[in-house]
Each structure stands twice: as C-alpha cells, then as structure tokens.
C-alpha cells in the first residue's frame, strides 16, 4: 500500500508560482516566448429579406410583392466571415488557419485575439452545449452559448484574450453577438472584431442596408474581410465564410483566395536522393 500524498485540491484561476522565476530569467536576459496571436479581421452579418416593416415606402412595396409570389417564404440567417492569418509577433505562423469554430450544428463562432484562448474557450463551451443538448433534447440557443462564453471571460477579468463574434440561428430566429475579452457582449445586426475591425466596419457602415439577400450578404461580408486583409497588417491570406440559416449551414472554407502564390517554380520540389522517403508529396 503506497502512502499517497494528499495534494491540495486544484483551485481555479491562474497559478502565479512561477512569477519570481520568470522575473529572474528576464533580468538575466532570457527572452520570454511570444504567444501565437490571431491579429485578425472577423465579421458577422444578419441578413433578412422580406422580413418586416421599413420606413421607406418603396422598400415596403417591394417586400410585399415578393411575399405574394413566393408564398410568404422568407430567408433569414447569419453570415460569419474571417480571414486566415495567424501571427506570432511579427511573423505569420499560419497562413491558412481556421478562425470560424464550431459550437453547435446551428451556432458558429469566430475568434480574434490569442489563438489558444479562442480555441480553448470555444471548445469548452461547445462541449458544454453538447451536454446541455443531451440533457434537454432540444437545439441549443445562441444566448445559451453567449452566457456560457461570457461568464468565464468576465471571471478572468480580461486576461483570457478572446474576442469573439458568435452567430447562429435557433428557434427564436437569427442572432449575432460580439463578446469582448472582458466579458461585455453586444447584440448587433452587423459586427466586426480584431485588428482589421476598423477597415471592415468601414465597409459595413457604408454598404449595409436592411433586407439583404443571402448572396448580397455573402458579397458584403467578403468585401469587408478583403478590406481587412488588404488594409490591415495583422490580417491576410484567404477569406472563410460561414452561412447559417434555419436548419442548414454552409461552411465555405477558403471562399475567396485573393492572395494566390504568384511565383511557383515549375519544377516543383524534389528531395535530395539520399533522403530516406519512398514517396515525395510533390507540391
């Protein structure tokens, strides 16, 4: 029988045991490791057409006739977009990373900020939502995900640097929320986060209008992300888009590749003969 040492029960929160040692190392000149960040552009958009009253008469008429022709069918949903660049300091460490994370079949979340934080937080909440779905037997609601994301971020007082754009369609309709690292949330028809948020917000503020159709929405979101990609140094590479409508979602990975590699060597890449591999995965 081994005498097991009774450890202290694990306490929540951060453990600051290594702080003194880190300070000593820094004084001696050892560089602290930089963490992987997604300096980013992420956007979200709610599109609804033929949905509701509007203040301009011509729009109202347009909506009504459409309603008649299609037998009252309306299309509502949320479109999320993100770029695909992950940076570690000033180096791009991942040219094609996935920033649109899965939360539930009807809810997706874009994450900006420290990549590890966004991944961990969304994974955690995604599994909590799955358990909740097993308990209740119903489709998850977006506000559930919102509360589950908000609380730990607030508890960590902003030290968990995760800025998220959460979007989904549930029984109550399409929803789009932004969540800031300190735990503040916003419910908006269009939203942007990340370092490229200003450039993308520019596009939204000038071109957003009510009653966008799905294709117009995708177009607007891609334009906003492209604006972030080309005008912000922390964003780049390709555009990912995710369209969520009632009961259906379209994850358009690499929907647009505006930065193709222009100079490719025609010979491809050959390993030297003595390298011990039987196949080489060309290029």
């Amino acid at each position: 029988m081994s005498k097991a040492e009774i450890d202290f029960p694990p306490k929540g929160g951060f453990s600051f045991d290594l702080c003194k040692r880190n300070e000593m190392l820094i004084k001696k000149g050892v560089q602290p490791p930089s963490y992987r960040k997604t300096g980013t552009t992420i956007v979200g958009l709610i599109f609804q057409y033929c949905g509701f009253h509007s203040t301009f008469l011509e729009m109202l008429i347009g909506c009504l006739t459409k309603n008649f022709k299609e037998g009252g069918k309306t299309e509502d949903g949320v479109i999320l977009g993100a770029d695909t660049r992950a940076t570690a300091g000033t180096i791009v460490c991942d040219k094609n990373c996935e920033k649109i994370h899965y939360m539930a079949p009807n809810i997706y979340c874009c994450g900006a900020g420290t990549a590890a934080n966004t991944e961990a937080v969304t994974d955690m909440v995604s599994s909590q939502l799955q358990l909740h779905r097993y308990h209740t037997g119903c489709e998850s609601r977006v506000i559930t995900a919102l509360m589950l994301l908000k609380s730990p971020l607030f508890n960590y007082q902003g030290y968990v640097q995760a800025a998220l754009v959460l979007g989904g369609v549930d029984v109550t309709g399409p929803h789009l929320h932004t969540i800031y690292p300190h735990g503040l949330t916003d419910t908006l028809p269009f939203a942007t986060m990340g370092s490229g948020s200003l450039a993308a917000m520019t596009v939204f503020e000038s071109k957003y209008r009510e009653g966008l159709t799905r294709d117009e929405g995708i177009q607007l979101v891609t334009e906003a992300i492209c604006s972030g990609i080309f005008n912000d140094l922390g964003s780049g590479s390709n555009v990912d888009v995710c369209v969520i409508t009632k009961g259906h979602k379209d994850y358009l990975r690499n929907h647009l590749l505006p930065n193709p590699r222009s100079y490719i060597s025609p010979k491809g890449f050959l390993f030297p003969k003595k390298t011990g591999i039987d196949k080489f995965f060309g290029y």
Partner: protein
C-alpha cells in the same frame, strides 16, 4: 502633449485639383469643446492646409507660413511658393521640432495646384511625409483609407469627389467619438481656393435591427 485636438482630415486628388474635407470640431480631452473650428486654411495662392491634432500648434504653423508667404511676396519676382515648396518647408519644421523633443502635435494635409500640376501630401508630427493620390489623418487612416483605396479613380469629377469624401466623413462620424456632424469641404484648383460653408451630413440611425436588437434573445444586450 495635446490639449485641444481636432480629429481627422481626408483629402483626394480629383480631375481639376484637390478636394479636402474635415469636420469642425475641437475636443478638450473627452469634451467636445469647440464646434466651429476651421481646420483648413488657404496658404498663399496655390495651397490649402488641413490639420488634425493640437489646434494651438496649427495656429503656430499658420503664423510660420504667413511669415514665409510674406517674405516670398516681398521678393516680388512674379514667382510664388507652390504646394510642393510649402510641403517641403513644413516637413523640415516638423522634423526639426521632433528632433528637439518638442514636436508640433499635428498631422497635416497639404494640397494644391500650380501650373496645372496637382499635389497632395501629408506630414505627421514626427516628420513622416509623403505624397499620394489620397490621404487621411488620425482616425481617417483606419476608417477612410480602405474606402479611398477601393473607390478612388484617376479622373473623379467634382460631384463624385464630394460624394466620396462625404462617404468617408459619414463613416468617421459613425465610428469616431471625437467627430461632429458639421463638415466643410474645401476645393483648390488652378483658379484658387474655395472653402464651402459648413453643413451637416445625413445620417441614418433607423435600422430596424438596432431598434430592438434583443428580440427573440431576451436577457442579452
């Protein structure tokens, strides 16, 4: 450090010359203190200067430029300082002040037309200067530059130029906390400078989705 600051200035080259827009606000920290400050002034016969940043430093710069233009007129040689020369002078002044650790806390936009050649340049408070087809200072760097990059064309007409600038100023009004809804548009062509009367932009705040954003998601905000 700046006390009374003006927000952004946006300038574009168009078919006949230069168009510049700025709002008329000056903030004292987080208070919008002055709402009728003209932040664009004509310099000599050929140039137009717009400034963002510390207003008192802008007035000082105007004094320097007054002196410069005066001396130039006193030569009375039929030649007058064009925008390129004034830009160069301003660059030297700003850079020198920064080297003495006493910068003039401004970002300047200088535009003008001389002998048919259009010139639009910018100088920042640390002396960074360059010339381009469209420039923006302050928040305009982040908010207006993407629009200008997408939509600027070589031969904009006057109306199109004004519409483009208004688009930029509208986004700035929505998203910059120190912007006021009272803007001026200044035009400079071979004939001369004209600064419009101040007017306000039409803004749209009636998006339905903003009226009641939490419909269906009661409890969130």
């Amino acid at each position: 450090y700046p006390y009374v600051t003006g927000t952004s200035v946006v300038g574009v080259k168009y078919k006949d010359g230069i168009l510049m827009a700025s709002d008329m606000g000056a903030s004292y920290g987080s208070t919008l203190r002055y709402k009728s400050v003209e932040r664009m002034k004509p310099i000599g016969k050929h140039s137009l200067l717009g400034a963002s940043g510390e207003i008192s430093d802008f007035q000082e710069i105007l004094r320097y430029l007054d002196e410069l233009i005066l001396y130039d007129n006193m030569w009375d040689d039929g030649n007058s300082l064009g925008p390129k020369e004034v830009h160069s002078y301003l660059t030297r002044v700003m850079y020198n002040r920064r080297n003495k650790f006493n910068p003039l806390w401004n970002s300047l936009v200088l535009g003008g037309v001389k002998n048919g050649k259009k010139y639009l340049g910018t100088v920042s408070m640390i002396g960074v200067h360059f010339e381009d087809n469209h420039v923006a200072t302050g928040f305009g760097n982040h908010l207006a530059r993407p629009i200008l990059r997408e939509e600027w064309r070589e031969d904009l007409s006057y109306e199109d130029g004004v519409k483009l600038l208004e688009k930029c100023m509208r986004v700035l009004l929505y998203r910059d906390r120190s912007a006021v809804n009272k803007i001026q548009i200044a035009k400079i062509t071979e004939e001369g400078v004209s600064i419009s009367k101040p007017y306000s932009l039409r803004t749209f705040w009636e998006f339905n989705a903003f009226r009641n954003p939490t419909v269906g998601a009661e409890g969130s905000w």
